[in-house]
């Protein structure tokens, strides 16, 4: 590492202009994250034109700060309203919302924020010191490995919601079915699009996620408001008991570290994305816990697991981007565009040609995390008051944001219809106890799994023996089978599942 470049980088990162730029990015991202219906990729896409007027360093740090801010902010709506703005915070809501309902919204938010910031800083440090030289390790994960990992993720995450296994299969199967809609990867022919050009790229993920997660929850809450009004409101305690304590924090540290590890791994592999990371981390935390039955009922570790992984994915997705020029996920792909507008080509050449800029960006990322901590800490005092606002005021506002957010994506009226359809679907799934988590994860994973599986089959020319040279793929295939067998055994051994469906 070139230390004169590092020194210059640090001084640029600590200038007043960069404080304002990065701070503005984090603040904007945080607000966008809090609003259900607006997502990270939309925020970046909208913000790119703003960066025209900034220097390249501030512009990029602004955008990275923005995406970090959205990740931390989306925990707020997940915890307080049970309306996660993005699929990646859905796991946060599983425990965050129950904890907030128990009268501890601030504790839940503080756990979420600390897990976010720690996961984020650790992953950034890994990015800086370890990852770029080792970015090529990601190339060891070819189609075989990716297909095996995706299959494992699908089975493992489906196993999380331990309601009726047949209902789980139905939900997962429906997600897989919807995931196959769109243009065929190889022939370019449309599948199940019924002549709608809008469906050529598949069901828009954003409509499916906002519909089943946030909007459907508003329907559920409206119904509760009608029939069980008295149980809806949460009394905020006046005393200091609603805050994170040292024992709670000590308890979640191992979970945060595990979550960071999982998030970094998932982020560094191009294509997996934050929702796979946060659910994997949540599941691993539940499996590692001595009291797995507490998950889904306000367990701090559940929040910490999901948030740390969700945030670790963001810096980690830059590992293949800076190391190999391959974006780790959609937001990282958007950053390539932002870089290009500022005359910078992202990729291996950046480290060679403009190391100072790269180190400045790293310094800016660390600064963004620290600003996020301060901003989030004071912000949550304010946001926790949302629980005091009566539901009949909150629900219409959230519905408005969901619809407005959908319009912002550029899908037009068609997007709104899809959104409403999925909100209805999500409402029915919640009401009749079908796991919408299984559904959503199956929907997100299916297109990637299909592509990687097809690539593997074609590349192997149908020869199973090729797997013998692929130890990583073999390990994940074995894990998939173990998870599958465990799931079957658990279903048939017990009438009653291990824990109630954590979602509801």
């Amino acid at each position: 590492m070139d230390f004169s470049a590092v020194g210059a980088a640090a001084s640029e990162a600590l200038s007043l202009a960069s404080f304002i730029g990065i701070g503005g990015g984090v603040l904007l991202g945080y607000v966008v994250g809090v609003i259900p219906g607006l997502s990270r990729s939309v925020a970046i896409a909208i913000a790119i034109p703003m960066t025209f007027y900034m220097s390249p360093f501030i512009a990029i740090s602004f955008l990275i700060g923005l995406s970090k801010g959205t990740a931390a902010g989306s925990a707020v709506s997940a915890i307080l309203l049970n309306a996660p703005g993005e699929a990646s915070s859905a796991a946060t809501a599983l425990d965050g919302y129950p904890l907030a309902k128990q009268g501890k919204p601030k504790t839940a938010l503080q756990i979420g924020l600390l897990a976010s910031v720690i996961g984020d800083i650790l992953a950034t440090i890994i990015l800086i010191f370890v990852a770029i030289p080792f970015a090529r390790v990601a190339l060891m994960f070819g189609p075989y490995e990716m297909a095996a990992i995706l299959a494992f993720a699908l089975v493992f995450i489906a196993g999380l919601s331990s309601g009726n296994v047949f209902k789980g299969l139905a939900a997962g199967g429906f997600g897989i079915f919807l995931g196959t809609i769109g243009l065929d990867n190889q022939t370019g022919l449309p599948r199940l699009t019924f002549g709608y050009a809008e469906l050529m790229d598949g069901m828009p993920l954003i409509a499916v996620a906002i519909g089943t997660l946030a909007l459907s929850e508003m329907f559920v809450q409206s119904e509760k408001l009608r029939y069980e009004r008295e149980t809806m409101s949460v009394a905020l305690k006046k005393d200091q008991s609603d805050r994170i304590t040292w024992p709670i924090f000590r308890g979640i540290v191992p979970t945060i570290l595990r979550g960071t590890g999982i998030g970094t791994f998932v982020g560094a592999l191009p294509g997996l994305g934050p929702s796979v990371g946060s659910f994997m981390s949540y599941g691993m935390a539940q499996k590692a816990s001595k009291n797995p039955e507490r998950f889904g009922k306000g367990e701090p570790k559940g929040i910490a697991a999901s948030e740390s992984a969700d945030n670790a994915v963001i810096p980690a997705a830059l590992i293949p981007l800076f190391g190999l020029g391959i974006p780790g996920n959609v937001s990282a792909a958007l950053l390539i565009g932002a870089f290009a507008i500022h005359g910078i080509t992202v990729g291996p050449l950046l480290l060679r040609d403009e190391p100072e800029l790269l180190y400045s960006i790293f310094a800016g990322m660390i600064l963004a995390s620290l600003i996020m901590l301060v901003l989030g800490w004071y912000g949550l005092m304010f946001f926790a008051q949302i629980t005091k606002v009566p539901p009949h005021v909150v629900i219409p506002i959230v519905i408005f944001f969901c619809l407005a957010g959908m319009m912002l994506q550029g899908y037009g009226t068609f997007g709104l219809i899809i959104l409403m359809a999925f909100a209805l679907l999500g409402y029915l799934m919640k009401k009749y106890d079908y796991s919408f988590v299984t559904f959503l994860v199956a929907f997100i994973i299916t297109p990637m799994l299909e592509l990687n599986l097809r690539q593997s089959i074609i590349l192997s020319r149908g020869d199973w023996a090729i797997l013998l040279n692929r130890p990583i793929a073999m390990i994940f295939i074995a894990c998939t089978f173990i998870a599958l067998v465990a799931l079957i055994i658990r279903t048939f051994r017990k009438e009653k599942p291990l824990a109630d469906a954590p979602a509801d």
Binding site: Y53, Q186, G188, P190, G325, I341, T345, G347, P447, I458
Partner: protein
């Protein structure tokens, strides 16, 4: 959000204060304009379009808002754009593929006759790439190598797959076609050594200088200005070409004077330094100018070639 409004307002103000470059007797927009891009933010079309929007602000003297309508390789945007008001205030910076390819493989609500074409600004860069350490450095060596070994090719569109399959059949290669699901999927496959060679829609630009990749041939009709030594498939004796250009599309009923104004705007933009720099330096696409008539003729030519290819 507030900050954005201030910036947009500021940009609008700046645009209004500077006198437009457009000729006085030419058609001029009377209100802010909307540029439709049929791809998501962040891709090369989007990057070029956003910089182009700033050149157009200077030319027309009106702010230009960029709207992304992604989906179906531009098909979604074309379907919606077809019904836009033909008053020149809404226009598309479009990729030809939506017209030369999508209607061939699927039913679309629109076709070439539903639009007017007002000048081309950017040329395509479709090429054949291989890893830098591959046992072949040229397309001829690749064919030699393929006669001895079974090979894999990472395809992106049905057309490049069809062309490669035809060449493989002609040369007697044992070739397996691997789908990639878009441009981003090619680099990991090639750098990880999973496939022997691949289609590039432009990603080679950042890997060729590092030596990670080698460009063996171009699908385009003309050689690339960036790689004068690399032959096209036609140069190599294969009768196949696959090309794409980025042009101004206007709704079908747009009057001639507006089309002319956009042609002149395209002439201005291809000379305008910021647009040329970003297009050439950052997205590594050649800046190519064609007027409206030539654009439409080229489009129909490519369409006919694709139809012939896919008919096999």
């Amino acid at each position: 959000m507030k900050r954005r409004n201030i910036l947009t307002a500021g940009a609008a103000l700046c645009a209004l204060m500077t006198a437009p470059v457009a000729m006085a007797d030419e058609w001029r927009p009377t209100q802010p304009m909307t540029m439709v891009i049929g791809f998501a933010a962040g891709g090369s079309t989007d990057i070029q379009g956003r910089v182009l929007a700033r050149s157009l602000e200077e030319y027309f003297g009106q702010p230009v808002n960029v709207v992304n309508q992604p989906g179906g390789g531009g098909a979604v945007a074309l379907t919606r754009f077809m019904n836009a008001a033909p008053d020149g205030h809404t226009f598309m910076f479009g990729v030809m593929l939506g017209l030369t390819f999508s209607p061939v493989v699927t039913e679309t609500e629109y076709d070439i006759d539903d639009f007017r074409y007002a000048g081309t600004l950017v040329g395509g860069q479709f090429g054949v790439i291989a890893a830098g350490d591959a046992p072949f450095q040229t397309f001829e060596e690749l064919i030699e190598y393929g006669r001895e070994n079974p090979m894999t090719y990472a395809q992106q569109l049905p057309m490049d797959a069809a062309i490669m399959q035809n060449i493989a059949d002609q040369e007697g290669l044992d070739l397996a076609m691997v789908p990639t699901g878009g441009g981003g999927g090619v680099a990991p496959l090639l750098l990880g050594g999973e496939v022997d060679f691949a289609f590039s829609g432009g990603i080679h630009s950042q890997y060729v200088p590092t030596g990670d990749m080698n460009i063996l041939a171009f699908f385009t009709r003309d050689r690339s200005p960036f790689y004068e030594d690399v032959p096209t498939l036609v140069d190599l004796g294969y009768p196949y070409a696959m090309d794409d250009f980025r042009s101004f599309f206007l709704p079908g009923d747009t009057p001639d004077e507006i089309v002319e104004a956009f042609e002149n705007a395209a002439r201005f933009a291809v000379e305008h330094e910021p647009f040329v720099n970003v297009t050439v330096e950052n997205t590594q696409h050649p800046v190519v100018f064609m007027d409206g008539a030539e654009t439409e003729a080229t489009l129909r030519e490519i369409r006919a070639a694709n139809e012939a290819l896919m008919a096999d």
